[in-house]
């Protein structure tokens, strides 16, 4: 039984990693979870843990060498496997390993050119070979598709996943006409059309939840299930002081403080996270785009109508939120109609998909699997 050790993909933008040093020798007995090799990317250095048990038969990659994600860097096997078999495996694998271009084609971030000249960035994870309906993920205000980094790889075990950057956000174009909900919705709808997605599960967080709900209401035949995480637009009051502070913050330190309010535990906001957010916020046009959305979308009553309309839809709806959400007061969500599945998570703030990723993943998987059968 031969197991390949591959250059991992950490986060959504990693394309390659450099070996810093191996932490175990050839011939060592490896158990699951053991630290194997230290790898450095442009963003972080991290240790790859072993996913399997066995003997480390081959350390192929050497310190200082750079490999694309998915390439073979080592081989695990049991002690009975002969060296010749290992050689054959390595030789054969090298031919099959994806080059970095192929890895990018398979699912690196791509850009869609919308008819009106805007662009939307998107990411796909998973190959959809299972034949299940794909899932589309829409992030919230000020975020981007990386909000789903702990969810996509898991959901992708069952189905192909797509995550989009809303207009004005992430890698999508930043110019907005007025920043209304319908402008955001039309951008997403155009992107889905270009991706040729006609039937899918839809997941939305916060403002992305309002967008997802609007899409489901407008085109219920396209949406198999609707999962809303801490969604805006269901009668909850938004803490607009957070929105104001977020838009105004330009320094990493201020952003770190501001972002802390999103989480049950403010210490969850690392300097790297705040720095990544600062890099987005400092792009020309971003504060203006966010202000337009704040003025013409978040400040308006998106509609308690949504509640009635959502219940009336012929598709399964699930709403999840964190009990300690400081951005959206959850009280309104407690009054959802009974036919909407709801889950309130303890010790979780406004970012359940990151704070309680495994719980969210379990809930999403179960919800979507039920929806596949209908």
């Amino acid at each position: 039984m031969i197991t390949p050790i591959l250059m991992p993909t950490w986060g959504l933008t990693m394309e390659e990693g450099t070996i810093v040093q191996w932490l175990v020798d050839e011939g060592a007995e490896i158990v699951i979870g053991m630290d194997l090799v230290e790898i450095e990317t442009t963003k972080i250095a991290n240790v790859l843990e072993s996913q399997q048990a066995g003997i480390l038969r081959r350390r192929i990659a050497r310190p200082g060498e750079t490999y694309a994600c998915g390439q073979l860097i080592g081989v695990l096997a049991d002690s009975e496997t002969g060296d010749a078999a290992i050689e054959t495996f390595v030789g054969g694998f090298a031919g099959q390993a994806a080059t970095s271009e192929e890895v990018e084609e398979m699912g690196g971030p791509g850009h869609l050119d919308l008819p009106d000249g805007r662009t939307i960035r998107y990411l796909t994870v998973g190959d959809g070979d299972d034949g299940n309906l794909p899932a589309v993920f829409i992030h919230g205000f000020g975020g981007d598709l990386a909000s789903w980094q702990f969810n996509l790889p898991v959901i992708a075990q069952d189905r192909k996943t797509y995550a989009l950057d809303l207009p004005g956000h992430g890698g999508s174009s930043k110019d907005l006409k007025i920043g209304s909900l319908s402008e955001l919705v039309s951008g997403v709808v155009d992107a889905l059309a270009l991706l040729q997605l006609e039937n899918f599960h839809l997941v939305g967080h916060s403002l992305g939840g309002a967008v997802a709900a609007a899409i489901a209401i407008a085109a219920p035949d396209c949406v198999a299930t609707l999962s809303l995480i801490a969604p805006v637009g269901f009668g909850s009051e938004i803490d607009m002081s957070y929105v104001k502070d977020f838009i105004a913050a330009q320094r990493t330190r201020d952003l770190q403080r501001c972002l802390g309010r999103l989480f049950h535990d403010p210490a969850a906001v690392s300097r790297q996270m705040a720095d990544d957010m600062a890099q987005y916020k400092r792009l020309d046009g971003v504060p203006q785009a966010l202000q337009k959305i704040a003025d013409n979308c978040l400040s308006l009553e998106i509609g308690d109508d949504h509640l009635r309309q959502i219940s009336a839809l012929p598709l399964s709806v699930m709403v999840v939120w964190g009990k300690d959400d400081a951005i959206l007061s959850p009280e309104a969500l407690l009054t959802l109609p009974a036919d909407i599945t709801r889950h309130e998570l303890d010790e979780v703030g406004h970012m359940p998909q990151m704070e309680a990723a495994s719980q969210i993943n379990d809930l999403l998987k179960a919800h979507m699997t039920k929806g596949d059968c209908v």
Partner: protein, 338 residues
């Protein structure tokens, strides 16, 4: 996100700002010329190619080659800035400030103050600095502490292509005189840089690495050398925080103080000569404001108090090395009171 060189990041920043604002002009020796031009114009684009191609797009009224007279360049730029343009003036080597320092520190730096706020001097002065090219004593110095000393000047020292583009755009948009210094050994390094324009605020340090055992503050090219030292220290089980201040005026004191509050140990790495250096300044600030947090004296790793040697062997010995930084870090960690 595209991966481009430090040089290209600067070129992109200049081009983007010149497109956005017709008041932005470039003045300096050999700044015109570049790919796509004809004859003499093909040959230059600045001696390191930073302004390549700009005269082709913007013409000689906005990309101005000057005679070899720094005092005239800086005087012209300071006056132009006060009367409505936004000049980016190039001082080919920072070592040349001697012949134009009055225009910089007595004129441009003080106009706003001395005219009671009625004068605005949106001037950027770009200059190369740093050793490692065997360019000799008069073409290899790090003189940022001279500028940092002067009230009225902002001083920027990027260490990565991402920082270079964002800080130069911020400098051009800033209404005060900004000294923008580029280390000659960094022009070819590459990094991911957004194609769109963006800014980086002054007075915000970058944390390149985080670790609880020792804080290493390192300027410009020294940030990269410090990261190598941090790798070596990590192999010894010592986790270092590496901070690149990015701007020396304003200086992000809070980030340095917060880090020292956590680690208790500080090493400052500065390629400049030691006396009255940024290394000394940062050490003094920390000794003053974070005394209670310190578990060991502060160590400064700098060049020696000599001119930059021309001999390759001596120049290599002059520049702070990975070994020197590693030893200083280990010294502050091993230090015990007697």
């Amino acid at each position: 996100m595209p991966k481009i060189s430090f040089r290209q990041a600067l070129n992109d920043a200049l081009r983007a700002e010149m497109r956005r604002d017709p008041q932005v002009v470039i003045i300096g020796e050999d700044v015109a010329g570049g790919a796509g031009g004809t004859g003499i114009e093909d040959a230059y684009g600045g001696i390191m190619g930073v302004t390549r191609g700009l005269v082709g797009e913007f013409g000689r009224s906005r990309v101005i080659d000057t005679p070899i007279t720094e005092s005239a360049i800086m005087g012209m730029a300071a006056g132009a800035a006060m009367t409505g343009l936004r000049p980016v003036a190039e001082l080919m080597f920072v070592d040349f400030i001697g012949v134009c320092f009055d225009q910089i520190f007595n004129q441009a730096a003080k106009f706003r103050y001395m005219f009671g706020g009625k004068a605005k001097t949106p001037l950027v002065i770009r200059a190369m600095f740093g050793a490692g090219f065997n360019a000799g004593a008069q073409h290899s110095q790090c003189l940022y502490s001279f500028f940092t000393h002067i009230p009225g000047l902002k001083v920027v020292i990027p260490s990565t292509p991402y920082d270079a583009k964002g800080l130069l755009i911020e400098a051009i948009r800033d209404d005060d005189p900004v000294i923008f210094l580029e280390h000659t050994k960094l022009y070819d390094i590459e990094g991911q840089v957004p194609s769109d324009s963006y800014t980086i605020p002054f007075g915000e340090a970058q944390f390149l690495r985080e670790g609880r055992d020792v804080t290493i503050v390192a300027l410009a090219r020294m940030a990269h050398i410090a990261l190598e030292a941090a790798d070596r220290l990590a192999a010894l089980g010592i986790k270092a925080t590496v901070i690149d201040p990015r701007t020396t005026s304003p200086l992000d004191e809070d980030s340095i103080l917060d880090s020292v509050a956590e680690t208790g140990r500080l090493v400052v790495v500065d390629e400049a000569n030691p006396r009255c250096s940024m290394a000394s300044e940062i050490a003094a600030i920390v000794a003053d404001r974070a005394f209670q947090s310190l578990k060991a004296p502060i160590r400064r790793v700098t060049a020696p108090h000599t001119p930059v040697p021309f001999s390759p062997v001596l120049e290599a010995a002059y520049i702070p090395s990975v070994d020197a930084i590693e030893m200083a870090a280990r010294a502050v960690i091993d230090w015990r009171p007697r």
